[in-house]
């Protein structure tokens, strides 16, 4: 408004005074000012007259049939709501749908996390004996056998075997397969060390238990003919380079 002085009340302050939203002290200050300021009094009257001014333009009433229809719809809504099961919280108060949704989300996350936890490989690795945990391939071969293979070839074989072991762990398989490995890979003394090992493949075979002697392991005389499974690393020439025994 153009005739508002610098120390006059703002429109907002006047409106708050009308709405009764000022504290007693503020209202008192407003009142003191209004006693002496004609301009603010006029503005206050203008604000107060807005409802009568505009209401006069729309002397409308909600048609009676709308009121009656609303009563019927409200009753219908109520009977439908009572037919629905109401979720109640600890204090017997209805649980809002947002809270229900949040609970469902939390439960879903917990279930999925539980499934993932139980399905992850080596979930019980910490409980198994140290001998059954993942072991470095070829690392524990008897010194005299390992010495037969030239050092670069041996490192290559170890890397290749590690790759194959890693591939096994990355593949989606059951933890039981991982647990069946009993020994690391042992380099075989009769393999040709001059042939490349980098494209080695691994095959599963069954051998008599006496084959453990190939790796320099002790064999029980009574069980020499029992079958035992083993993984063989084959070089590109098709000859076995290393072996490990599985349970």
């Amino acid at each position: 408004m153009s005739n508002v002085r610098e120390n006059c009340l703002t429109d907002l302050r006047l409106a708050q005074a009308l709405d009764g939203e000022l504290s007693a002290a503020e209202a008192w200050r407003v009142q003191l000012h209004l006693e002496t300021c004609e301009s603010c009094r006029a503005r206050l009257d203008g604000l107060g007259s807005v409802s009568s001014l505009v209401a006069e333009l729309h002397k409308l009433d909600l048609p009676l049939e709308v009121t009656e229809r609303f009563a019927a719809r409200l009753a219908e809504e109520e009977s439908r709501a009572r037919a629905e099961p109401v979720w109640r919280g600890w204090l017997g108060r209805p649980v809002p749908w947002r809270a229900r949704l949040a609970w469902c989300g939390v439960l879903t996350i917990l279930i999925v996390a539980g499934i993932l936890w139980t399905a992850r490989p080596h979930s019980k690795a910490g409980l198994r004996p140290a001998a059954q945990r993942r072991q470095p391939a070829v690392a524990a071969a008897p010194r005299e056998l390992v010495n037969d293979i030239p050092a670069p070839r041996l490192r290559q074989a170890r890397r290749s075997a590690k790759r194959s072991v890693r591939r096994e762990h990355m593949a989606p398989r059951t933890p039981a397969v991982a647990r069946e490995i009993a020994t690391p890979f042992f380099a075989l003394p009769f393999s040709d060390g001059a042939l490349p090992l980098d494209e080695a493949t691994m095959i599963r075979v069954e051998l008599p238990r006496s084959a453990l002697e190939l790796a320099g392991l002790p064999v029980d005389e009574d069980r020499r003919n029992q079958r035992i499974r083993a993984d063989l690393i084959l070089g590109v020439d098709g000859l076995a380079r290393a072996i490990r025994f599985v349970e």
């Binding site: 604000l47 409802s51 729309h58």
Partner: protein, 190 residues
């Protein structure tokens, strides 16, 4: 009439029209959602309906939207929603539904008919009607926000409630109402 402050014996009487609308009480004592809804419908149905028509909805559509507002209020209360300032909540829902209806083409083609003044001097009635038409034209020429603030204020909402309904600041509400009033005052004195 209501005094703005009676703390020190001084008095200032605010215009009665605002105070009548301002004295609306929310039915807090009732705890049943249906009772609260029915009570608030009884108190506010005309105000909501008038506001919807003033936004430009056809009277029939405004009637349906009014019902929808209060049915939504019932569901809101049943789902244990916030029961603070239910009048503001109803007007906010009414405003949003009206905006949706207007987008879908529920706007009135013509302005609602003004009722003829029964009895009285025909010449005075004609002058009054002319003045009303001028006022209505002036209001329609106002920016949308000013119209909304003006109509909500006319329905007795506090500035704080208007700000909540329209999602704007309380200072913007005060400014919009003042500007609208200034225009209307000029129109009255023409």
């Amino acid at each position: 009439m209501r005094r703005i402050s009676a703390a020190d014996g001084l008095s200032l009487e605010a215009p009665e029209s605002v105070l009548e609308l301002d004295s609306v009480k929310e039915p807090r004592e009732a705890s049943d959602p249906k009772q609260i809804t029915a009570a608030l419908f009884e108190q506010q149905r005309k105000a909501v309906y008038r506001y919807l028509v003033s936004l430009g909805l056809r009277p029939q559509v405004a009637g349906e939207v009014t019902q929808d507002c209060f049915l939504r209020l019932y569901r809101h209360l049943r789902s244990n929603g916030n029961s603070e300032n239910l009048r503001g909540w109803v007007f906010r829902v009414a405003h949003n539904l009206a905006m949706n209806e207007l987008k879908r083409g529920g706007a009135a083609v013509d302005a609602p008919e003004m009722e003829a003044d029964p009895g009285g001097d025909p010449e005075q009635a004609l002058l009054r009607k002319e003045r009303m038409v001028r006022m209505q034209t002036a209001i329609r020429a106002l920016p949308r926000r000013q119209q909304e603030c003006l109509h909500l204020r006319a329905e007795g909402l506090r500035y704080r409630e208007i700000a909540q309904v329209l999602g704007i600041g309380i200072s913007s509400v005060a400014e919009s109402v003042q500007r609208a009033l200034a225009v209307l005052a000029r129109t009255c004195h023409e």
